[in-house]
């Protein structure tokens, strides 16, 4: 009964989405107010239906209803309840339902916050989001129905042991919030193109939504990296896997969009750029959906694939993005920008920043799709992996990091190079000195490349602090601190986070120590300063697994630092073994122990043990955490919540608009 209810709810949601996607849009063309007003209730009811469908699927999982094929394939009678819930989005059909639910959620949020927006604009935005939802719901109902029943109702599998983890509970929802969130600026951009204008008000509305979506995406990617680190058992945190790239590319464009919006808001320029970036950002989200589910690329993270599904998504992709770009080609000419700026100006640097971000995104796309390109052209099969991506990514990021250090201090419209040098040379020196000192104190003598990278990071951080200093007055420190806008402080935090991230990546890559050792209870091994003692080996029983658990004590300078319990688990349902690493986290280093294989051929309890020392690895996620916090702070800036419009703004075209007050 419940699955059928869920299925019905999805169909109802589809009908509502169709209404939401068509009538309001027609209403704006025909100036029919009642049609336009349908958008909000349609969107809200659609979200209600989606929530109901999702609840039904969740119930099926909690209730262990194995007559539902999806539940049977991804759950098991032995699976604990909290994993049964997260298993809802553990595979293709359910994660699609999550996608479309989150889309409904964002749409609902827009209906809630859109009271100060003109009706025509809101109608257009909601209609675009409705059409996207139609596409996904059709896809689900036609090819990937999570409520499909099968008989006999037996369990057919289990949630993959790797997914039976806290990471599955948080990473996909967070990531999808970001992916889907980029649909909001997309919809805003389409609405702007349809209206033929972008004014300061549009920018002011779009910016906070974009920032929040970006924050979710940032945190989602960071969570994924952290999860891979502790779950996959060898301490890797980024593999340039196609699916990872599929999440990173929208992030890069989202960052470019954020910065472009900042300029458009301040200087009324870059409007066509902003629109294009908004379109491309969401396009890459959709492309990511295609790559993960179509089987076109091989990836550890890919869902079970099916060519039919691939064709459908590709068709959907083409319509949505093709339509958007067609609209852009047709209407973007009319969205021109005013405002002059010189070669040495903040506008120019932000434009350069965006060009570099787009180039990096294009480079990652090139690398990810190149094997496909060569295969399609019959030129053979190649693989493109981390060696390529690192060699391309790092050199392209260097100029970006350089700009980050002084960009916020460059004047709008016009600045001079000599003046800049005068203002920044001390910071540069501080960056160099700090960088060298940091490296020597943190890890000891290092190669030139490592030192330069850390210097670059210190340059970024020093420049950010100098930006802060420039806004403070020494006479009224408290007052000037309080007067700093949240947007400004958010930016500082985020930029500072970039520096932290660079240091983490550089130091862990260059200085991590690994050993694979044969150890039996009673043995010990020295890794650097740390003494890893294998104390005992026990058998433990989990809710749905049996494990061999080792007890390791780590000692340094005669002091016991930590006790770790790495495990080798054997899940009863699938007989699949899985490693749980023992990690001692620290701000400046992680200690990592994992069990490899039993070496008990000689009758001893010996195991192959993998020991790792990872300096500054947590900084890799601390950086994005700061970026996320900065973003949240910026999005909560009070100027987005003011009722009055921003004074001194001029729309490009002037049109009578009864629904908004304008000064």
């Amino acid at each position: 009964m419940i699955p059928e209810l869920g299925h019905f709810a999805l169909i109802l949601a589809l009908c509502l989405a169709i209404v939401q996607g068509t009538l309001p849009l027609a209403g704006t063309a025909l100036r029919n107010t009642s049609w336009m007003q349908i958008a909000v209730p349609a969107a809200r009811w659609q979200f209600g239906c989606l929530a109901l469908a999702f609840a039904c699927l969740t119930y099926a999982f909690i209730d262990k209803d194995f007559s539902v094929l999806y539940v049977a394939q991804n759950s098991n009678s032995l699976l604990p309840v909290y994993y049964r819930i997260s298993a809802v989005w553990g595979a293709h059909e359910g994660s699609l339902l999550l996608w479309v639910l989150i889309l409904g959620g964002w749409t609902f949020a827009i209906t809630h916050f859109s009271r100060s927006l003109p009706l025509a604009f809101t109608s257009r935005v909601l209609a675009v989001l409705g059409l996207v939802s139609v596409g996904f719901l059709l896809f689900m109902l036609l090819t990937s129905n999570p409520f499909e029943r099968h008989f006999p109702a037996v369990e057919r599998g289990d949630l993959n042991p790797l997914l039976q983890d806290f990471g599955l509970i948080v990473h996909p929802p967070m990531l999808y919030m970001g992916y889907v969130g980029l649909a909001v600026p997309f919809a805003f951009a389409i609405a702007a193109l349809l209206e033929g204008r972008i004014d300061a008000a549009w920018t002011r509305w779009t910016r906070p939504w974009t920032i929040v979506a970006w924050v979710f995406l940032t945190l989602g990617i960071a969570l994924g990296s952290w999860w891979a680190y502790y779950e996959l058992g060898w301490g890797g945190w980024w593999f340039w896997d196609p699916v990872e790239n599929a999440s990173f590319m929208p992030w890069l464009l989202g960052t470019a969009l954020l910065h472009s919006l900042a300029v458009t808001e301040q200087r009324s320029t870059f409007k066509a750029w902003t629109i294009l970036l908004a379109i491309f950002g969401f396009s890459l989200s959709l492309l990511g959906t295609f790559l993960v589910r179509s089987g076109v690329l091989v990836s550890v993270h890919a869902f079970a694939t099916d060519p039919t599904r691939g064709v459908f998504i590709l068709g959907f992709l083409s319509i949505v993005i093709g339509g958007a770009l067609l609209l852009y080609a047709w209407r973007a000419g009319g969205v021109s920008s005013t405002g002059r700026f010189e070669l040495v100006s903040r506008e120019m640097l932000l434009l350069l920043n965006n060009v570099l971000l787009v180039v990096v995104c294009a480079a990652i796309l090139l690398g990810t799709l190149y094997p496909l390109l060569m295969d399609a052209l019959g030129a053979g099969k190649i693989s493109v992996g981390p060696p390529y991506f690192n060699r391309v990514f790092i050199p392209l990021m260097v100029p970006l990091a350089l700009i980050l250090g002084f960009g916020p201090l460059v004047h709008w419209k016009k600045d001079s190079l000599p003046s800049l040098v005068r203002r920044m040379h001390k910071t540069a020196l501080i960056g160099i000195v700090l960088g060298v000192a940091f490296v020597l104190l943190a890890v000891g003598p290092a190669s030139l490349g490592v030192t330069l990278a850390v210097i670059l990071a210190c340059w970024v951080m020093a420049g950010t602090l100098q930006t802060l200093k420039s806004r403070l007055s020494p006479q009224d420190l408290g007052g000037s601190l309080r007067r700093l806008s949240r947007g400004f402080v958010g930016m500082l935090l985020a930029h500072f986070g970039v520096g932290i991230f660079i240091i983490g990546v550089t130091l862990v890559s260059a200085f991590e120590k690994t050993e694979d050792v044969r150890m039996a209870p009673g043995d010990h091994y020295m890794l650097g300063d740390y003494r890893f003692e294998f104390r005992e080996l026990n058998t433990v029983n989990g809710p749905n697994y049996e494990a061999k658990q080792a007890t390791f004590e780590i000692v340094r300078n005669e002091r016991r630092i930590a006790t770790l319990y790495p495990e080798k688990r054997f899940y009863r349902s699938s007989n699949q073994p899985m490693t749980e690493a023992g990690i001692n986290p620290g701000l400046f280093r992680d200690l990592y122990v994992s069990l490899g294989e039993p070496l008990d051929t000689d009758g001893s309890d010996a195991w192959a043990v993998h020991l790792t020392y990872k300096p500054f690895v947590r900084w890799i996620w601390l950086g994005p955490l700061l970026m996320g916090l900065g973003g949240l702070l910026a999005a909560s800036d009070r100027r987005y919540f003011r009722r009055q419009p921003v004074p001194g703004t001029r729309p490009v075209t002037v049109r009578a608009k009864p629904a908004e007050g304008r000064s």
Binding site: V298, S299, L351, A363, Y370, V384, Y388, G596, V609
Partner: protein
Amino acid sequence: MMKLPIALPPCSGFILMLLLALNLAQPVYADAQPRSGSETLLEFEDAQTKDRYYSLLEQLRCLVCQNQSLADSDAGLAQDLRRKVHEMLQEGAGDREIIDFMVARYGDFVLYNPPLKTSTVLLWFGPFILAGLGILGLVIYLLRRNEQKAESLLSEERRRRAAELLNKSKT
């Protein structure tokens, strides 16, 4: 999700024990994936050879896996190829030799570091060419834009002056 497309031998534990008995050292890289047999630990001549070993493993692809390197995978084939790499290193083979060995048998697909050939020139140089073009395009765009703005300003100014003169002539 961790599905291997082709079946792998579950009895390699026994085989490896056989080989252990025959004193062949086997490579190991303890990690978290579903395993198919035990491995023992490695001997290396020196730290440099060890680094070369791990570096090579990261460049070589596990062909039966869903996009993992030899370093990260524990599929049977990955174990065999790791053993091979280690063997060749012990025999004094150079990195180039080992890579050529793999490519001769499995093609370019086995390399995560795509070789530089005419067919991959676009891959390797594309991003940098794009970056250069982007920056160049940016500068040109800016200069032309400012020219246009200057022109429009000028015509605006001219119009203003004309209006002024007209006004003057009227009064």
